[in-house]
Symmetry: C2
Subunit: 273 residues, 2 copies
């Protein structure tokens, strides 16, 4: 097979299989060529990926050696994306009763969701995450986007125990905004004991929901390695109970009466400055 064809096949393969360890003989067969040609192809692809801020190819030598595509996004591209999102969200018509923000159009756009996933996955790339955990419903697409770049499964915590999932562990927690006692459930067979977990959600006020997830996950002896939320909002009535998190967007000044809103970049960018 000619180099030009090989480069298309290999690039497509890496895009569809992030973080998958591949031994070179697999590519030698796939492309009907020699090991040294594949090796040169990988150099070209690695170089372009790096130049374009798309990540890199991680190569290992020796027995069982091979190559793995680690997707990343450059800080420059992340900042640019966050800035566009910030402008988009800073629109008074998005204010909803109760001090919420209408974000369903953003969360309903697979392309934007995928970019958000890429940004979080890039930040959490070296944390040896085993599984991404979210709570139904709105965080689900974000969780899948993050997981697809980390090449790990998603586990969904539910607020209603469904009969279809077998035996489960549940906890009660106090919701920050409504002050009500709520329930969270996770089927027993859905999460291995001692997993390294990344929690993803769309929105965080005081952090009651995420704190509930942390409690539930401790029942599975999970290690919460990272917490990513798309948007955080100050809750004047309550102090934040979750502190170690990464947010892309921060809503600081939501004024229901005067229909005004201020949207800033989240701590994602602060952390690296």
């Amino acid at each position: 097979m000619k180099r030009s064809n090989r480069l298309v096949i290999l690039t497509e393969f890496f895009m569809e299989n992030p973080r998958k360890h591949i031994q070179l003989p697999f590519f030698v067969d796939l492309c009907e060529t020699t090991k040294s040609s594949i090796s040169e192809d990988l150099d070209i692809i690695d170089n372009v990926f790096k130049t374009q801020g798309l990540g890199y190819l991680e190569r290992t030598t020796g027995a069982g050696g091979g190559v793995k595509y680690i997707p990343e996004i450059s800080l420059e591209k992340s900042s640019q994306f966050i800035e566009e999102l910030r402008k988009e969200l800073q629109d008074a018509s998005r204010i909803l009763p109760g001090g919420y923000l209408y974000m369903s159009d953003i969360l309903g756009n697979p392309k934007l969701v995928r970019e958000i996933g890429r940004i979080f996955a890039s930040r959490f790339s070296k944390l040896d995450i085993d599984v991404v955990v979210t709570v139904a419903t709105k965080g689900i697409p974000l969780a899948y986007a993050v997981a697809s770049f980390l090449e790990v499964p998603v586990v969904i915590v539910r607020r209603d125990p469904k009969v279809t999932e077998g035996s489960s562990v549940s906890i009660n927690y106090v919701s920050g905004s409504s002050r009500k006692i709520q329930t969270m459930v996770l089927p027993k067979r859905s999460l291995k004991e001692g997993s390294n977990v990344c929690i993803i959600d769309d929105f965080m006020k005081a952090g009651g929901t995420i704190n509930g997830m942390i409690s539930l996950l401790s029942e599975f002896n999970a290690h919460v390695k990272a917490i990513g939320v798309l948007a955080e909002a100050d809750d004047e009535e309550e102090e934040r109970i979750v502190t170690n998190y990464t947010s892309l967007i921060k809503i600081t000044d939501l004024d229901l009466i005067h229909k005004k809103i201020e949207v800033l970049a989240g701590n994602f960018l602060e952390d690296v400055l």
Copy 2:
């Protein structure tokens, strides 16, 4: 820029931007090259995509002309995937009380979910779908996977009205399995009148839930162009009320007492034979 580098950049771009119409000058700038070079690159990529069963590049000429990547998956690859899924699901330990099947591990795997999305999107490719609609919770990842290949947004019907979404339309429907009256809600601003809709869900028994979605969507004057379900199951007590759907998997013989199950390929493959 050299051809080898251009091919990596262009392939990556098409993978990340399915169905996006791009005029050639964009690529000329991106790759710092000439229009005729880009044109040759596109020939190479189109050719590899077709040979590998990944879809094709749709090119239009004249003013405003350009190129668009239409992702598809070959029938051969689809059949192979469905056969593997069928074997995986035909496992008696998956049987849950109530005649349900444990599929959370499949639905929690972003790679598998993406493949399922690619298969449905490929089948529904020419239907001019404007939006993918699903109902919370389990169908959500599948809906996003389908939508990402069709380059359209996702709208999620909820069973509980959430305060955070503004005014909404709701309907009551009778659930096939529980015979209970249930509610479905869709925020008014989430769906444009007269949209071409593709309904996606994970599981269908008698079809009460999907029928409920159809009723709700008729309130928005939507045109239901396609219905895709991952798995359908016979419900002995009830006749199916939804008939025009596409399923990948069919569960025919779920025997709770003897812990036996039979899983067949769905009508996806029948339709083309």
